[in-house]
Every structure is written in C-alpha cells, then in structure tokens.
Symmetry: D3
C-alpha cells in the first residue's frame, strides 16, 4: 500500500467550448471545462479510487484557483499545484459533426506552466510516496523550463524506482522554444518504462521507422534504441466521420516481444472525443495497478477510451463498472432503470 501514488505533471488549461454544434464564429457563450493531457490521466485514476496527484503551475487569481478546485471533486490530490506566473493556458473548441471536424484554437503561450522555473516543484517530496510518474510529449514541447522540470522529475523517479510513462504524442504546433523534439525527447524516453508511441510519433520524434509502418517493427526499433522500455502502446483510430470512429488498442511488451491487439470497438454518436487518448492511458495504468493480465489491461484501456467519447469535457467521468461492462461486450446502450 505504500508508495502507491500515481503522479502526473503537465499543463492544466481552461477549455472554452462553443455550445452544441456552433462554430466559434457563432458562439455567444462558452462552456467552461478544465483539462490537460496528463491531469486527465491521473484524474480518471483518482476517480476510479487509485490514489493520484497532479503537479502543475497555475496563476494565483480567480481562474487559476477555479482550475485547481475543479479537480478536487474527483479526489485528485492537488496539494502540489504551485501558484505563480500570469495566466492559465486556454483552448477554444468548436465541435464538429459529420464531415466537419472539431476545431481547436490554442491560446496557451506565456502560461504559468510554461514560465514556471524548474525549482518550483519539490520533486523529492512530491515523489516520496509515489509508484508511477506520468508525463507526455506536450510538456517538453512547451518551454525549456517545462522540459527541465520533466527531466529532473523523470530522472529522480527513475532513481527512486518508480515506473515512468510517457505519452510521446507529437504536436507540430508546439516546440517553439528552440529545440526540436529529436534533440529532447530521447533524453526523457530513455528514462521511461512505458510509452504511448505511434509510427508517426516514432518517425517524427526519433527518426525511427516510417509513418504507417507495422507497429511491431516500430516497437523493435524503439526497444533497440531505448532498452529500458517494457511496454509500448498505441491505438488505431478509424475515422468514419466526426461523429463516428472505431478504436483498437495495441500493446507491445518487452517480456514477449509480441504485440497484442485489443478488440475493435465501434464509437457511434461521439459526444466529445477530446481526452480519448488520455482515457486510454489511464485505463492501461489502472489495469497494471490492478494487476490485470496484459490483454485485459489493454482491453480495459480501449473500453475506457471509447466511453470517454460519450462524455462532455476532458475528464473520463465513467465508473470502473461501466468500463468492465463494455469490456464484457455490452455496447447496447440498454436503459439502466
């Protein structure tokens, strides 16, 4: 039971969404949500009863505290959130339908997270009771200070024997601070135990493989370069329309050298697909923490991600029982009286 906390580090943003299917140009009101790729993972875990904490920086004003307070309802430990800097990053969303995609306008530059000094975070204290540390490829892409904080935390986590996971997902609109991902990401992935990495990510960030290449081959290349890796995950998403996708999960394990494929689950009538990847990561960590067999953890991860698509906002507000129900094959949406 000791040292069992899952800790994540990354930016929390305010999400302002046009209502219904309005475009940003039409919006008269914005719905307010909060999220962040890393916080979405630990918040789902906390909501599922796994002790979890998130670390970030937010401005010390009404909106910064609103953001931090938002996560308390899910039992996420927010005691390591630092209040400094000037602003909370914002992103504006309009929901697509049919052939029209969902669109995002980012306004995240100069955020408290991006300007916070690495020494803001007392990692020794933060990681003292932790068993797992999670980041993504977004944080090192934001600013040099954010990268340095990631590096310090991952190094310490490694040294303390925590599992380190990184969702490396490449975002081409970031990486403005002077370094390319291929200069930076290998330093972090070398410290990781579990990563989420597609062939597109692998090619863009590490120059390994080709976009679209067979995942098992990609994993072999990654493992050769980063022998610390024990698991590599990715998903295949078939996009029939903005409102209808299909999702399959893939898991490579160093222990077997094999790739497991989950069942493909249909996702009709998507309500909100933002946070779907984070729900997959959270589901997988949940499976590992609960010592599920690998295939079951992968299936749980995909089902959790699919259910996230039916929930408004970044946070996967579904229960473990609901995920298990879908894992057991009930996708009927039958009325629960």
């Amino acid at each position: 039971m000791q040292k069992s906390k899952i800790v994540s580090f990354g930016e929390i943003m305010m999400r302002l969404s046009a209502q219904g299917f309005q475009r940003l140009a039409q919006a008269q009101q914005f719905d307010i949500h909060f999220g962040g790729s890393e916080a979405n993972v630990t918040t789902a875990l906390a909501h599922w009863g796994v002790s979890s904490a998130h670390v970030t920086s937010l401005p010390d004003h009404a909106l910064g505290h609103k953001a931090a307070n938002y996560f308390k309802q899910f039992d996420l430990d927010t005691s390591h959130i630092a209040f400094n800097g000037e602003r909370i990053g914002i992103y504006f969303v309009e929901k697509g339908s049919g052939v029209r995609p969902t669109k995002v306008v980012y306004d995240r530059s100069h955020s408290s997270f991006s300007t916070a000094k690495p020494q803001t975070y007392p990692w020794e204290t933060i990681l003292a009771n932790a068993s797992w540390f999670h980041i993504t490829g977004i944080s090192p892409a934001i600013s040099e200070t954010a990268f340095l904080a990631c590096l310090e935390a991952c190094t310490l986590a490694n040294k303390l024997g925590l599992k380190v996971s990184i969702d490396v997902g490449y975002r081409s609109n970031l990486w403005q601070w002077g370094k390319s991902p291929s200069e930076i990401m290998p330093q972090l992935v070398a410290l990781a135990h579990t990563i989420v990495c597609s062939s597109w990510d692998s090619a863009a960030m590490f120059g390994l493989g080709e976009p679209g290449q067979n995942f098992a081959e990609i994993c072999a290349l990654l493992y050769k370069r980063f022998p610390n890796l024990q698991q590599i995950l990715t998903t295949t998403r078939t996009q029939l329309s903005a409102s209808h996708n299909q999702l399959t999960g893939h898991l490579w394990q160093a222990s077997t050298g094999q790739v497991l494929d989950s069942p493909t689950i249909d996702i009709p009538d998507i309500v909100d697909r933002i946070g779907g990847g984070d729900a997959f990561m959270a589901g997988y960590i949940y499976g590992v923490v609960k010592q599920m067999p690998a295939a079951q953890a992968l299936h749980f991860a995909v089902a959790a991600s699919v259910l996230k698509h039916t929930i408004e906002g970044d946070i996967n507000q579904v229960s473990v029982a609901e995920v298990q129900n879908l894992v057991q094959g009930d996708a009927s949406g039958r009325l629960n009286r």
Copy 2:
C-alpha cells in the same frame, strides 16, 4: 358516444433530466418533465382526441399542482386527481449516447400516490362514463394501498363491462412492500382483457414459460391461466446502441390463437426513449377505439412508439397524421415546408 372515456390509474412523477449528454454528476441544471407510465398512455390518447382521464394522488403544494396542471395542455381530464400526502415521486435521468446507456435514479418512495388510502378514489363516479380502464404492473409494486386501489378499480371495471388493460412490465427495483409479484399480479390479470407481457415478464411474474421463449407459446400459457384475456401484446427491441434501436410489435388474439407481427421499424438518432412502451400501448388502444383491423392497430402502435423516441419528455407529442404517415412507410424525415 356514451361511456367512451379511457381511464388510467398510476403514479405521476417529476422527471429531472441532466441537459444534453451530461451525466448526473456534471449537471448544473435539471430540465423538468412530468410523466408516469399510465398517464403517458391516456395523455397520448387525449392529445389524439380520445376522451381520457387519469387518476392519481399528488401533494397539495406548488409541485403537486404543477404536475397536475402540466397534463391539462393535452386535454387530459385531471378532475379525478386527488391532492394528499407529502411528496411527488421524482426520477432523475441522464441521457446515454452510443455505448453509454441512459441511467435513471429513482426517488419515488413515500410519494402521495404510494401513501394514499384506497378509499381516496371514488371509483363508481370515476368509471361511470368509461369504456376502458388501464393500469400497469408498476402501481401494485409500489405499496399495498396502491395495489388495493388497483384491485378495487379493476374489479369494478370488470363488473361495469369496461375493457381492462394491464402493461404488466416487471420492475425489479420495486415490490418492496412485502409481497412478491407472483402473489399479487395474478389477481389483477385475471380481471384484464388486454395485457402487455413479454416472456421475461411472464416468467418473473407468473412463473409461466422461460425468458426468451417463443411468444406464441407464452401466450398459450397465459391464456390457459387467464382465460379472460382477449389480447396479449409485446415488442421486440433490438438495441444497436443507446442512440439506435429497432422495434417490432407482436399481438396475440384469443379469437384466432395466432400471433401477428408488425413490420420492424428502424429508430436511428433516438432523442428520448422513455415512454416508448407507453406510446405503444396508447397506439394500440387508439387502434382499437378507432376500430382498426388488428394488424393495422398493431402497426399503428409500433409507429407511435417509434415516433415517441424522437420526442423529448415522456409524452408522445405527435399527431395521428404523423403516425399514419410512418405507418404508410415514410421514414425519410423529409422536410415539411
């Protein structure tokens, strides 16, 4: 034209729904609707021009009167609603989407309907001009007093020559008052002329047949036990997702001993499926009242039910012409200028 009124008896509840696809945990507002399985039937009939009344008990405060007044807009006769007791039953709904089901939280215990004494209702007066009396298996499941009122009313209705219909639908979360359905329901069904009863209901309530057994066989068993029965109805619902179902109606008639099957109608893009079964019952009664041939009445019932799935709230706010249009095969949703 005399003694032509359709009368129903049962609880009216306030339905509080989370907005859009929000979960109850996310809701900041509730939309307010009113409904009840039996009142939904007579309200649809009243809305379609068939003289109808509903009998129930509601608390004598702002919300009880709000509930009663709500039904007046549909021309339902509410003059026999009694005001007594302490509270109106409430149910809370969150709408599902895709693989996530719609969920209901009930808060109906201790309602005015459940506590009202049987003598609250002057059945001689109420049924004086009626030709049909309708209840469901929900009312006797709520409380002993509600059961006794049902029994008294059905007995009198039978004596007065009214047709008595019962939608026996078994609700496992009720029946808390000390008796099992198999002790109670036979007393009522013995008085009925028309019932809605699936193989699951038959097995659970009467110990007749197996869940999923062939409907004609179930009907034979039911008829043997309840020789008063003239019609037995049920529907087959294929649940592709929370948002996409398919519906077929089935009608057994004592006069032929045969089961008629309606065409199967596709229900894409479900707006609100609560009340779908009640719309089926209302549609069938409408067909009988209008002296449609049996197959046509059944088809009308299914079409009415399908259209209900496109309407917010419990009440089937569609016109007879709209149902007829669907019966005639136009499911195209073509714009009506």
Copy 3:
C-alpha cells in the same frame, strides 16, 4: 475587377427555431436566425471573399434593422436594403430527428418585401457594378409587386450583360397572389443564363417533362423552350432519415449538351439542412467566378452544400479551404488541433 459584384434580390426572414429537438408545441425559447434563399447565396459568396450585395425590403423598426445588421458580419453589402412596410416575414422551425421530419410554419404574408413597390429599388444604380444577378422562384410567388421587381431587374441585368441565375424551386404554399407559376416563371427564365431546376420544378412550372424524368431529357426540353440558358443544375437527395441524407449534383451545359454528375457525398448527423440548396448555388457561382472547370465547380457546389448541413442557421459559415478539403475527399471529420 470592374463590374464584378454578385447581386441577389429576395426576402429576408427572421427564423425562430425551437431548441434542440423540441417541437414547436414544447418550445419555451426560440433561437433567432436570419436568412432568405437568395441572401443565403450572396452571403456565402461575401463570406468567401467575393464582392456581393443583397437587395430587399425590411421594416424600419428594431427587428428590421436587426435583420439587416446581421448580414454585415459576413461582409455582405447591405447598402441597397430599403426600409419600408410593416413587418419582417417570420418562419418557425422545429428540427426533426430520425423518422420525424423537420417542420416549418411560415408567417411571411404582408411582409415589407411582399408589399414594397417595384420602384423601391433603383436597379440602374444597384446593378451598375454587378456581373451577376441572382433570384429564385420564391420572390415572384410572393406578390405581384415582388414579381414586377424581379422582372424589371432581370430585364435590366440582361440588357447590361450580367449573368442572370434563377433557382426556380417551386413552393406550393406560395403563389397566392392570383397568377400561376406557369404564367409568370417563363418570363423570368427567358432572361436567365443559369437555372436550378429539377424535373418536378420543370413539370410544375413549365409543363415540361414528367416529375422524376431523366435530367438530360428535362434539360433538352428546357433548352428548347429557353434557348438563352447556358447551364441547368439540380441535385439528387437521398433521404435516409431526417438526420442522414446523401447528395449528388448534376450540371447540364449548353456548350456540350451533356450532363455532368458530381460524386455522391454522404451527410450523416445533419445539424441543420435549411439553406442546403442555397449553399449549392453559392458554391457553383463561386466555382464559375473563380473559373474552375465545370466538373470542379459542380463538385465544389455539392461539397459546399454538404458542409452547410453541419452548420446551425441558414448561412453557410464554412471557409473555402474547408470546402476544398471535402472536395479532395476528406470526409473523416478528423480533429483539427
């Protein structure tokens, strides 16, 4: 660059819509939009950067000015809108879903547009810098004065060498002012260069061909009667449900005597189909203005129309780049970060 303005003439109405999937009978609020078949065309063009103006009459009160001001955000030239008469036409909309169609209740009689005298509009000035003049079959159906204004404008446009386009679409609920379309529409179409005309329109308005007849044959008949015509357009709409259609465009050209067919595009999850035909017309004019080859202009028109179905309100608030993306085959609705 000279004389390049696209000018349209027709009624602007206030559209009051029930929210979500509520019926008009259920509505507690109306959402407010403005639109008109002809203004929808030029507003899309203005929004796409093509200099465009719309001409109409509106009442000189808060709602008339609200209507006119609404279009300024799209850079439509509203300087020729006249303020006179008593009221703005209104139409009330409830959105259908699945098997239930969208319904419209019109309240457009006695509008400023219908009562404005033909001399209200200084056509010499209005058309001075124009290259294209667009009307529909709705305006001459509204009132004699509206017809006379159309006739005067088309005649002058023809004389000045403008291209004249008419979407002849027959509306059976109009034409109340004493003349039948077959007495009136030929006078206008004789002046047109481009029309949108289905076999149903052709049969109803000109007595040419049969409803449902092969489009090439219809075009041959129309061309024989109206030898001025250079292009005839129409669409085929397959209506799977109120929420799911498919659309194909067809273009006949006098220069070839042949009919081109666009690819068929699927339209799942329709948000709002009103204005879809106007978006097709706007797309085609855009293609011609930008000197696209005919097949490409037709494809652009269909794609523009399909995207309109994903937008709330009458106006096609999508960008040229978004239409081009769909023309290039991306209907995946992939998230745009």
Copy 4:
C-alpha cells in the same frame, strides 16, 4: 352557482421577449409567453377559482394551438376559441431598467382575431351561463369585424342581464381601420356597467374632460354621458424608474357619486409590468364576485396589480392568499420557509 361564468373576448398574442435586460438588437433567443389584455383578466380569475372563459380566434396551426393550450393550465375555459385565419399576433418586448424604458414592437396586423368574421362566435351559446362579460378598448381598435363582434356580444350580454366591463385604455398605435375611437367607443360604453377609464382616455375617446383632470370630475362627465355606468375605475402610477413604480387605485361608484382611493403601494424591483392593468381589473372583478365591500375590492385590485409586477409574463400567477397578505400590509417580502 348558475350563470356565474366570467367571459372575456379579445386577442391573444404570442409575446417574444429578449432575455434579461438585452435589447431586441442584442437578442439571440426569445422567451415565449402568451397573453392578451382581456384573456389576462379571465385567466387570473380562473386561476383564483372563479369559473371563467375566454373567446378569441387563433390560426389552426402549431402556434395557434400552442397559444390556446397555454391557458388550460390555469383552468381557463378555452372551448370557445375559434381556429381560423392565418396568423397569431406577435409582440416583441425588451425589458428596461432604471432610466431605460421597456419597449414593445407590435406585429399584430392581419391576425386571426382581426380577420375573423363577427359570426364566428356563437354568442348565445357562449354567454348562456355567464354573469359577466369583459372587453377592452383594444378589440374595437383592431378591425371593423372585431368591433362588430364586440358590439354584438355587449348588446346580447346587456340583454341577458350580464354585467359588462370595458377597460377603455386608448392605444394610439391602433385604430387603423377607418374609424376614430370617438365614433366607436361610445356605442360600447353605453352598454357597460363598469369601465376602467383615465382622464387621458376620457379626453381622447369621448372628448370629455382634460388629460390630468380630477378623476371625480371625469367620472361625473362620463356618468352624465353614459348613465348605465355603475363603477368607474382608474389607477395612478408614479414612475420613479423602469424598475420602481408606485400604484394607487381609484373607484367611483354611481351609488355614492364618490371616489374611493386605495392605499398607495410601492413597487420596487419590478420584474415585469406588462399585464399590471389587467391584474387590477381581475382583482376588482374578483372582489365583486366575492362580494367584498367596495373599498376592499379596490384594495384587492391594487394589491393584485402590484404583485403582478413581480411575475414574469402577462398572467398574474399569484394566489388569492398572497394578494390578501399584501392587502393586510405585509410588503416585507419575508422568506416563506
């Protein structure tokens, strides 16, 4: 108990209101209410348990029936509403605040009420069980047919021994049909027993007295001209701002030749003042029906009117007990647990 129904006749309009304190120019939604000066009176009475009916014409479409159904929740008898004509009159409202007044834009011309033929209404049947008939000066101002219906009904009511009341309130924006109020109103007032008439009305409609003249003098002049009159009522409204008024009622009785003045009641924080005059009329009729002494009926009328200012919409949705509470002097707004 016989012949005790209160019957009113007049136009019912759909009221579309900008939300909060938005101007019409800013509105994105309209709140929907229904009302009409005469219907507001009988609806309040029905809501207070006095058997009442309203007579009007509405269009036979979704909005006409929505209007009629709206009043059923208040137990108003709507069985004499005729469905004919083309449209329901609409008025658009923006709520003022402080120094900015509430504004109304009318769109009521060509309504079903204004075009209905006098023979639409079977007055013999309608008035058969009535004891009181109420109209206002608005109906005869709308159209000749509406005037003729008023005249026929008042004449018959008089003949049948009903009390006839007229709120003569002059509306300068009406009277477009060719006659001036002074040609018309005397014919109706000659048939009345009770009128509401200020010095401004008297001067404008009958050429009697001066605007602002002492009310007792006005009453003397009116009585001399219309010796049938038994009661003349008016109110004095002090307008401190759009949100703060004060109201006093005045009642002249033929039996005494004296004017009674009610206490002045303060109206801070006005929520909605439309319908305030109708609430005064309803309150007075209620007092008479309940055989209150004249001063008490007047006080009840003023208190009812004051409470109406705290209610959204045209209808005075307060209880008799609430009015009585204010009559007894409790204007404290003390929380009712």
Copy 5:
C-alpha cells in the same frame, strides 16, 4: 495548532431553484445547488483557510456522491460523510422580488440523514483533532436518531473540551417525530458554549421570555437556565422588501454580561438570502478562531452575512479580504479592475 479543526454535523440537501424570478409553477429548469445550515458554516470556514470538516449521511448513488463532491472544491473535509439510506433531502426555491417573498417547498422527509442510526458516526475518531463542534436546532428536529447523534456528539465534544455552538433557530415545519423542542433542546443547549438564539427562539423552545423582548433580558434568562453559555448571538433583520434588508448583529458575553451591537449594514439588491444566518455564524467563529476582539468578531460576522446576500447558492463564496473591506466601511460596490 493541534486539535484545531472545526467540525459540523447536519443534513446536506439538494437545492433546486427556479431560474431568475420564475415561480415554481413556471419553472422549466431547476438550478442545482447544495447546502445545509451546518455545512454552510464549516464550508465558509474551510474556504477561508480554517481546517474544517462536516459530518452527515447521504445516499450511495449518483446524487449522494454529487452532493459530497460539491463541497470538496471549498477544501471542506468530507471524509466523515457516511453513505447510507435512500434519498437526499431536497428543497425547492423560488426567488421573490419586491413585495413577493422567496418561497421554499421542502421535500426532506425520509432522507439518509434522518434515517441514519446514531452509531453511524464514529465520534471519537471524528472529534479527535477538533477544537469546535457546531450543530443547529434543525438536526434534532428531523428525527429521533438525528437527535441522538447530536446528543452523543455534543456530550463527547463537551467531555473532550471542544467549544460547542448551536444555532437554535426554531423551524415550525419540522419537529414531526414525536417530541417538542422544549423537551429536547435544553439537553443540547446545556452542553453548549455559544448559541444563536433570538427572543422568538427562546420563547418557542425554552419558554423563556417573550417574542420581541429585549435581547439582554433574554440572555439573562438563558444564562440563568444554561450557565455553561459563554456567548449568545442574534441578528436584527429589517425587511424593507424581498430585495432589500438591513442587518445588525448582537452579541452577549457571559464575561461582561453586556450586549454588543454591531453597526447596521444595508443590503440592497439581494441576490440570494438563503444561508445568510449561516454566514453570520461562520463569520463569528472565524473571528474567534483568529482571536479578534469580540466587537470586531461580531462586525466581521455581520459583514460576512451581508456579503452572502450577494452570492447565488447557500455557500458564502467571498474572501476574508472582501469581508474585511466591508468591515472597514466600503459598501460602495466600486469596480475592481
């Protein structure tokens, strides 16, 4: 710093409010808030940085957890909330304006709090680190089990040397469980150190003094009866209208035998007065905890209460700095840029 936690015990209810100034009869949506007289006190304290916990019972379903999670955003310790029973108490609110009072409809019977057994709460553990225990006169009025839990907790708190405060406020619509307040409340007040008690409460609950009697006299009577008491508080509320009150605080201290009066603060433009009394209690406890002089603590309490009237919902979401600003006399509402 040890044993410094403030602990409260009492029912948490879901509050469902009609929007704006709508009556319950008009509401189409309810706004959702949570509150409870005792939880409101500790939640304000937690929000102000004083370590605080609340103890209650809630049902173990979506709404019970929603209620508990709601308070986490304010840093209230909810770890002692028990999940049992069937329902969460609900109260429905319509906001008054001007002469129309705010009205409440309670639906709290049979709640989890009312049915929870006294042994539900491990008081030894709960009070282990506490310095202050707070209840109100509502809990013992709800049920015998709730009274017994209060008695057990107060007795233990007394034994452990905690300060015990009771807001005795008499609610005439409670006390249905078989005992009168005068049989019950003295047992609790005998254990209290600080109470809020008006002359009305004193007369109704203890038979001491007369309603409206001088507060110092009341305090003398109470002190004689309950010699444990160190402080007695009350407020004087002048109710000019539902939207405009004035508030003065009064504090009697055993140490001086004198009554201190706070300045009277004007409360124009009330947004929501529910929870105003709880805010007063919280303010006073804050003052004591922060060791303010008595007059200053009283002034802080009144200012906190006044500010609560400007906040939607039961919780006093203002900062200490904002209260201090009002204490220092700035009631100008000057814009804070």
Copy 6:
C-alpha cells in the same frame, strides 16, 4: 462632409462574463462580448450615424476575426484592422450587486495589439479623411510599440489639423513595459485638443495637483502645462452601491476658463457599468460634431453614459433619440408601446 471621419486607435479585447451575479469561481458558462475603451467610443458614434473607424491589431484566427466582425453590425469601419500576432486580449468579469463590487481579471498580455510593430498602421492613409483622432491612456501603457504608434498617429493627426482627444485614465495594473506614465503621457497630451482627466489622473500622470482637488484648479494647472488643450472633461461618480450610482459631468473650456457642470443623473438598477466612461466620451464628441452648445454637449455626454449603464456589454446600444429623451428629463422608464 469631407475629412469628417472619427478615428480611434486601441486594443479590442474579448470579454468573458460570468452569467447573472455568479462569481468567476461559480461560472459554468461565459457570455462573450467584445470591447475596448477606444473602440467603444467610435462604435457608439458609428451607431449614431457619425462616420467612424477603429484601428487595432488582432490575431489572424477564428477569434480575431470574430472580434473584428462583431463591430461591423454597428457600421464601424473596420477596414484598417490589422491581423497579426498571436492572441486577442481577454478580460473576465463577474458582476457585483449591492455591497459586492464587480471584479475584472485581465489576461491581456502578449496580445496582437501589444506586440504589433508601429509600422503596422499606415497612418497617412488611415487619417486621410478624418477630422478627429481619439486614444486613451491605456494604449501607451500596454507596450512601447503601442506607445510609439500612438505618438506617430497623434503627431500626424496634429499636423493634419485633426482634433486629438485623449481619455488619460490611469490604470495602475498596466505600465509594465519600463516607463512610467509621467515619462510618456505628457508627450501625447501635448498633442491633444481635448482630454478626459480627473484630479487623480492629473496627480498620478503629470504630478499636477492633488487627488480630489477642485477640478477648475486642476484644469488651470493642466492648461498651463499643455497650452494646446481646448477642453478638459471629467465626471463625478457617487457610488451608493454596485447597483446604484449617480453621475455628473464637468467641462472646462479654454475659451472661457470656466467649468460647466451637468445636471446629476441618478443611475438605479445598473445592468453593466463597463464602458460608461467611453459612452461619456462618445456623447461629448457627438455633441461637438453636431455643433451643440457646450453645456448641451456635456449634458448629452452624461445622459449617454447613464444610459450605457442599462445595457449589457461594452457598446452603448442606445439611440440618439433615447439620449435626447433623457437629456430632456424623462428618467421615468415609462413603458414604450
């Protein structure tokens, strides 16, 4: 008629407001408005029919264009708005009530306006047809580049003979770019013809006079320092509460050396006070443009400002007739039918 355009220069921000009286911490939605102190002035003028343009920089994305398009409905010339930089400044607002002030959280750093290079704006072209140029003390406080653009524009305007007005209003939360206002503002005011400047501004920005000093004395000091000045304006605002202010205008003229005082106008029931000062400036410019006598222009300015307090959003959406009505003394808020 030539060179008559009023031109303003300054930042346009997106304003996101909590709804009703919610605090930012409570908000679930933000209402979206756009405004800026300088744009508010010219937008009011354009709305009143005075040819006006605004110059600014906005980001070239959906929100930047949304902002620019917003102003087109008011007929403001936006053709000189430049699209560059990364973000639009945002400010978040919660509306106060009674003793609780309205609060603003700014998030305007790094906006397109603040980073735009001075050469962004082709002042020769922009000012070619202008007669008046208006800025405020906010722009030079934002960044050095914004100051340099102001300086260049004011210098050119002066050279071209335009009137230059500056609302010098000191904002202590700006001026972060390295210079103090006293180093910067004198360079601009030396080029001005008309300024708005209180004694607080004068003391803070120019070291002239004392806060609260007699306005005539302040004007004398300012005139001595800036002999170009022809008019100095200010207002006295009495703040009774967040919802109730009173406003008086003051105008010093070089031609007389005297200060004129406007009547004091009461502002009860404030809807939105942001933009009140800009409405005063716009009103004064309108008076000058329309060649009103000075006292009348001043009265018009105050009345315009008072009316702005009744309007949601930054823009003074009232008509000239409405301002004139208030100037003529009608503050009764009498219903306009």
